[in-house]
């Protein structure tokens, strides 16, 4: 494969590197053309996000978070004296496209790391490519857990991190019968597995569990089943537009008057799609909410709005991507060289200030110990109910 690739490209990577090196040394010797030398010598960072195909708002926020951290680093003089340049690729929310774009980012654009994607399906699809080219993937979306790979670094809320503190809270405040309703794929099923364990341990009872295929537009029968089950708490892990459709129909049928809506994966992103009545009282668990009354949270929200406009949604997603990009930048700094293996070794084992407290990236499984809050939506704003502080997930390499 190697020789084929080199032969196919007259301007081979090694020759390009030589040209860059020559330009850089010319600049270093003070013989002019400093900005060309700088530009050629930049560190390329790949972003792989869904910018079309259904999850574009999450993709956009992922790009914003990463971009913000990179721009800050460049304003402060770059890393190891070099600029960071983003190369943004659209995976179209599709696994096959994600694999193609990943190869392009690594082979054509020569990125040292990739930030993204959103769905587990796309992450799993590109994992072999990531491993084969030994290029680190920085994944900053909440997921079902269990990824243990030297080349994948996660800043994600995991089932036991979210569920184990959240379910006892629900049991204590809203009743002991739970109905679980999720989209039919791996994340909701793993979440509900954790919910079931936690609910039974807290003395609760599961009175129903159901999954829905993507794209269903009529949830009457599910709404009816939830009502007839007599559940006091509905744990919802349906995602995206389907979740909004379900909640609208659930609220229209008076569901919220009898059952507390506990929505996993809910964020500021959903609020504009629901009316005040529809979103009122939805309770959720998250690593970050934009209305958190902490100095670091307010500073972060101000910063994002200043860069991306007053109407920018400052969600969990923006914070997670911003944070993970900062871990990467600090990792490069600590590695002292733009070397993928050295960066991976240096990227964990320290803490940084997030939008919600200090967060540590663990060395043993390359996952983050996050700070978790429980929040309720009141008057179209998330309101803090309980600050749980740092919650440690179990070691993802030992499950």
């Amino acid at each position: 494969m190697w020789s084929v690739r080199t032969a196919a490209r007259p301007f081979s990577p090694s020759r390009r590197r030589w040209v860059q090196g020559a330009a850089a040394s010319t600049a270093a010797l003070g013989l002019g053309l400093p900005h060309i030398g700088r530009a050629a010598d930049s560190i390329k960072v790949g972003v792989l996000q869904p910018l079309s195909g259904g999850l574009e708002n999450l993709g956009q926020q992922g790009v914003q978070g990463t971009q913000l951290a990179i721009e800050e680093a460049n304003e402060a003089g770059g890393v190891l004296g070099r600029r960071l340049d983003l190369v943004i690729a659209d995976d179209k929310t599709d696994p096959k496209t994600a694999v193609e774009r990943t190869r392009e980012l690594i082979q054509r654009d020569q990125v040292v790391a990739i930030f993204g994607p959103v769905t587990s399906a796309n992450r799993d699809a590109i994992q072999p490519t990531i491993d084969r080219f030994k290029t680190p993937l920085f994944y900053a979306t909440d997921y079902e857990g269990g990824v243990c790979d030297r080349y994948i670094i996660c800043y994600s809320g995991l089932p036991d991190q979210w569920v184990s503190p959240f379910v006892p809270f629900l049991r204590q405040n809203y009743g002991d019968t739970f109905y679980l309703f999720g989209s039919d794929y791996v994340w909701p099923r793993k979440m509900n597995e954790a919910v079931r364990t936690a609910a039974e341990a807290a003395g609760g009872r599961i009175v129903g569990e159901e999954y829905t295929p993507f794209g269903v537009k009529d949830f009457t029968s599910t709404v009816r089943k939830i009502e007839q089950s007599g559940a006091t708490v509905l744990v919802l892990d349906v995602v995206g537009a389907d979740a909004i459709t379900f909640v609208k129909q659930f609220v229209a049928a008076g569901g919220k008057t009898k059952t507390k809506l506990a929505w996993l994966g809910y964020s500021e992103n959903y609020i504009p799609g629901l009316t005040r009545d529809e979103s009122e009282g939805i309770v959720t668990v998250a690593n970050f909410i934009s209305t958190l009354q902490k100095p670091e949270a307010r500073a972060f929200v101000t910063k994002v709005r200043k860069r991306f406009g007053d109407r920018a949604i400052v969600s969990n997603t923006v914070d997670a991507h911003y944070m993970l990009a900062r871990f990467f930048i600090e990792g490069v700094r600590r590695a002292g060289a733009v070397d993928k293996e050295k960066i991976i070794d240096a990227v964990s084992g320290f803490s940084l200030q997030s939008g919600n407290g200090m967060v540590r990236l663990r060395t043993e499984d390359r996952h983050a110990d996050l700070n978790v809050v429980i929040a309720e939506t009141r008057d179209q704003k998330q309101t803090l109910l309980k600050d749980l502080g740092r919650v440690k997930a179990s070691n993802q390499c030992k499950t």
Binding site: R224, A243, A252, G273, E278
Partner: protein
């Protein structure tokens, strides 16, 4: 007993909602023989008309009247610019309208952004039916669907205009040689179909996520209903939607949504195998 009646009510509800969405499609696809891949986006534009009107401070009911008018105009434009050039080219129609669907969807993303939009529920009250609370707005949807279906039936089968439209559809050269203006009829029929799609989008907006992808979800069961019921007849559409929607709702009620999809698609395959021209089209051979 009450449980069975409730399931029947839920089934009737989804059937009528699906009928509402399918009506526009059956005119364009079933009667005009144009596979309109952009039908979901006409539905989408209807829903976004509501978003636009509500943002300007207008009420939902005003938007409900405006949506079909706006979409009738859009339908006229689409017919004039795209559809009329591909009437006799069946496969090209798919490609042209598919391209149109992508452009319309992306235009909505450019103007409104990719996130879901808020639409007020104009009838948030619930009504007690049997032992349960029933959403008032769902009853409204059912009423609209019944009225529209009757209205469309009346227009196509009980008026002179409908007679002319069906004559043009059945045999264009003959209709033209009898002095009927076929271009005008094509234009009007397509605009009417588009207006129905827009109205359906506006009516459904309070009960589903209003986002750029919303058009696709109803399109598949709607196409399926027409294929199962038989193209070219309104009665077939009623039959098709009843079968598709009721089967789905009943299976989802006693089992799961996943099983419901399996049963619905399985059923569609069996029906189309036995009745290739749909239930009203007669048996094979």
């Amino acid at each position: 007993m009450a449980a069975v009646l409730l399931i029947a009510l839920d089934a009737a509800n989804f059937t009528l909602a699906l009928l509402l969405v399918t009506l526009g499609l059956v005119i364009i696809f079933g009667l005009m023989n144009v596979i309109n891949m952009a039908h979901g986006e006409l539905f989408l534009l209807g829903a976004y008309t509501v978003v636009l009107v509500e943002r300007r401070g207008g009420s939902f009911w005003v938007a409900l009247l405006l949506a079909p008018l706006a979409l009738a105009v859009a339908g006229l434009l689409i017919e004039e610019l795209v559809i009329r050039h591909v009437y006799r080219r069946f496969i090209d129609t798919i490609l042209a309208t598919w391209g149109l669907s992508i452009s319309l969807k992306q235009a909505v993303i450019v103007v409104f952004g990719p996130t879901a939009q808020q639409v007020e529920n104009p009838l948030p009250q619930t009504v007690t039916i049997l032992t349960t609370l029933y959403p008032g707005y769902r009853l409204f949807i059912m009423a609209v669907a019944v009225l529209l279906a009757l209205g469309t039936f009346f227009l196509f089968y009980r008026t002179r205009l409908g007679l002319v439209a069906r004559a043009v559809i059945a045999n264009r050269p003959m209709a033209a040689s009898l002095g009927l203006n076929t271009r005008r009829m094509d234009r009007m029929t397509f605009a009417f179909g588009a207006a129905l799609a827009g109205l359906a989008g506006a009516v459904m907006a309070p009960l589903m996520s209003v986002d750029p992808q919303m058009g696709v979800g109803f399109l598949i069961p709607a196409f399926l209903s027409i294929l199962v019921g038989g193209t070219g007849s309104l009665l077939g559409t009623v039959l098709g939607t009843t079968l598709i929607a009721s089967a789905g709702t009943v299976v989802a009620s006693v089992w799961t949504q996943i099983a419901a999809q399996l049963v619905v698609f399985g059923l569609a395959i069996v029906v189309i195998r036995l009745f290739p021209r749909g239930l009203t089209g007669g048996r094979r051979g």
